[in-house]
């Protein structure tokens, strides 16, 4: 895997790697902070998977293996930046300060969103592949018109890189020199579709043909992802235009809890990637270089347990919405068909408790 093109600052064994262009700027404390984020988000993911198995969630989209990509990118963002995620960006949502239970409202099927996107400057989950890339470019055009030193960042997968919307977003970002970072998590799979079916050449190279730079970063190396994303965002904020970042990583788990990856990929592949685990890697660095004690790691584990317990309680407390709420916020203003529906539902005596 380690190829010339890949920006890497930390080896799979947790050893520093020199790079001609990028150096890690983070202190030990900051790196520990990233470790904490990753450990917690992994716990969050595990808890969610088990909640799903226990019938408490309709679905879950795990991120095991992608923690470095998401935490590195999420922590590189400034509070004033705005991100446009897919359905899998739990790590980014975490970095944006979104309460974990809010992330699960979509998966408990009690909301089509889950949080206030304006408050957290993190858009609602986008399920239709590619759609959000254009929203991000439009938002970035708004930043330009406001003369603000801010950036937009959008997330998408290797699979979504084939969608017309993603590609049109490249065109527009270049044409308007929009302050935007395209962050592609190439986790090697789009459900059962290998990323080699989406592109015969490394994905990051696609950017150049549209007129802006592409970088491939080791997506399992949180230090590298952080630096690469930070620089791209900074460049965007000061008029440097778009960058495509391909975070080369791996989806260790299933596509979602509905998926059965044994049907399409071999165990050996998963084994190889186990050795590149993003959390273990940074843990090794912290232990060796900063002499972090195992008790400190344990504390994070305990913190994660507390988070998970609260998450579980919050999810279980999330009751079925009152059906009448389906009529709320469909329109900004009164609408006769909405009123008619609301009236019908009331007449039928349907309420939150009726199922």
């Amino acid at each position: 895997m380690i190829d010339e093109e890949l920006v890497q600052l930390l080896s799979p064994e947790g050893e520093r790697v020199e790079h001609p262009e990028y150096q890690s700027t983070l202190s030990g404390d900051e790196i520990f902070g990233l470790y904490r984020d990753m450990a917690i988000i992994r716990r969050l993911c595990n808890e969610s998977t088990s909640l799903q198995r226990q019938g408490q969630l309709a679905l879950w989209a795990p991120i095991q293996g992608q923690e470095a990509a998401q935490i590195g990118a999420g922590r590189a963002m400034a509070p004033t930046d705005f991100s446009f995620p897919t359905y899998r960006e739990h790590g980014i949502a975490w970095c944006r300060g979104i309460p974990p239970e809010n992330m699960l409202r979509l998966f408990r099927a009690v909301s089509n969103g889950g949080w206030d996107p304006q408050k957290y400057r993190h858009s609602v989950p986008t399920i239709v592949l590619g759609n959000q890339a254009l929203h991000a470019v439009g938002y970035a055009m708004g930043i330009q018109r406001d003369g603000a030193e801010e950036a937009a960042i959008t997330f998408f997968g290797d699979g979504a890189s084939s969608q017309g919307d993603t590609l049109e977003a490249f065109v527009w970002a270049a044409s308007f020199n929009a302050p935007i970072v395209f962050f592609c998590q190439n986790n090697q799979w789009g459900i059962s579709t290998p990323s080699s079916l989406q592109s015969k050449v490394p994905l990051y190279r696609r950017a150049e043909g549209f007129g802006f730079p592409g970088v491939r970063v080791d997506g399992n190396d949180v230090l590298a992802v952080y630096e690469v994303t930070k620089r791209a965002l900074e460049s965007a904020r000061v008029g440097g235009g778009p960058t495509l970042i391909e975070a080369y990583t791996y989806r260790m788990g299933a596509h979602t809890t509905s998926d059965d990856p044994t049907r399409y990929r071999i165990d050996a592949e998963v084994e190889v990637w186990k050795h590149r685990d993003p959390v273990e890697r940074v843990k090794a660095l912290l232990a060796r270089e900063y002499e972090i004690k195992s008790s400190a790691f344990d504390e994070v584990g305990a913190e994660a347990d507390v988070m998970a317990l609260k998450l579980r309680e919050d999810v279980l407390a999330m009751s079925r919405p009152d059906p009448i709420t389906m009529f709320d916020n469909a329109y900004a203003t009164e609408h006769p068909l909405v009123e008619e529906g609301r009236r019908e539902m009331i007449e039928l005596g349907i309420s939150a408790g009726s199922h």
Partner: protein, 328 residues
């Protein structure tokens, strides 16, 4: 009352100008809308006066025009997207039905999808294929959207401003064949609310309901019918979704008979909808079932024969005859 005479194209241009003046967050975006002023010149001179940042010439991709307008809306802008022709709105269909229509709901009201999609629609200008489509029913079927249509310069001037000010996303259908027709525009006061149905001509025998380009056809048919002693009440739906049904109900309760007219095929159309609603609401007043005059269920034909595809005065009169003489 300061009224002045202008074409519908000019009225739209003036309406857009006024919206740009009133609110700095209003942007226009579309293909060739800058120096060229759009292929119909609706945005003529606006880029010159408001700059390239507010009147934005777009690269050629409709999904991107709508998709970026969504992002701009999230940032607080109100973008008026111009689709060059009706037939070119389909590449943006996904963004419209999956995002524009649903984002307010998905965000629990945090997002306001303040955007207008201008659609020069319907045929009648002798163009080549894809330039004469009537896609309004697709959008009317979609919860989360609103669809309106103007049929006079005065409505064009006011409705475009009302649509831009409105907080819901609006598909704004402009009958392109009427762009060059003149009418009085009252610059001081809007004649009606954006979502109001208007009776354009009173009558007592049959109610004929249309919108956009068909209004003129219907009014002509009413003239002819009058000479034959048949009194047609002419209704301009104006708001295609939601429909403002009450004025239609009042009319049909009076006349007992009605006909709907549009250029789109009749299958699962606005005509079907009006018939279904009015049948339910006016069941005992109806002396005949409502009849739909529409385009045919085939691709829009080469335009040398489009006048036999679009509802003509003859076809409207034929339908009026049929509801007048209805026997099962």
């Amino acid at each position: 009352m300061a009224t002045t005479t202008m074409t519908m194209a000019k009225a739209l241009n003036e309406g857009l100008r006024r919206a740009l003046e009133k609110d700095k967050k209003v942007l226009l975006m579309g293909e060739d809308i800058g120096k060229l002023g759009g292929v119909f010149r609706i945005t003529d001179g606006l880029q010159k006066d408001f700059g390239e940042d507010r009147v934005i010439d777009a690269p050629l991709a409709e999904s991107a025009i709508v998709g970026t307008a969504v992002g701009l809306a999230i940032r607080g802008y109100r973008t008026v997207c111009e689709m060059q022709f009706d037939g070119f709105v389909y590449p943006a269909f996904d963004q419209i039905v999956s995002q524009v229509a649903k984002l307010r709901k998905r965000s629990d009201g945090a997002y306001t999808m303040g955007l207008v999609i201008r659609l020069p629609f319907q045929g009648g200008i002798g163009a080549i294929e894809h330039h004469s489509e009537s896609p309004e029913a697709y959008f009317a079927q979609t919860g989360g959207l609103r669809v309106v249509s103007c049929s006079t310069p005065n409505d064009a001037y006011w409705m475009i401003q009302q649509a831009i000010e409105h907080d819901d996303p609006i598909i704004f259908c402009e009958p392109k064949s009427r762009y060059w027709e003149k009418g009085e525009v009252d610059l001081d006061q809007a004649p009606h609310g954006l979502f109001e149905t208007v009776v354009r001509r009173e009558g007592s025998d049959v109610t004929v309901i249309g919108y956009g380009s068909t209004l003129k056809t219907i009014l002509r048919a009413a003239d002819t019918a009058a000479t034959e002693g048949v009194s047609i009440e002419v209704i301009d739906a104006r708001s295609i979704s939601p429909l403002d049904l009450d004025p239609m109900v009042r009319s049909v309760e009076k006349t007992g008979r009605f006909v709907t007219v549009h250029e789109a095929p009749h299958m699962a159309s606005i005509g079907s909808e009006i018939v279904a609603e009015l049948t339910q609401r006016c069941f005992y007043s109806l002396r005949a079932p409502g009849i739909r005059v529409s385009g045919y269920h085939v691709p829009y034909p080469p335009t040398r024969i489009e006048e036999d595809y679009r509802p003509t005065v003859d076809r409207v009169l034929d339908a009026v005859d049929r509801v007048m003489g209805f026997e099962n």
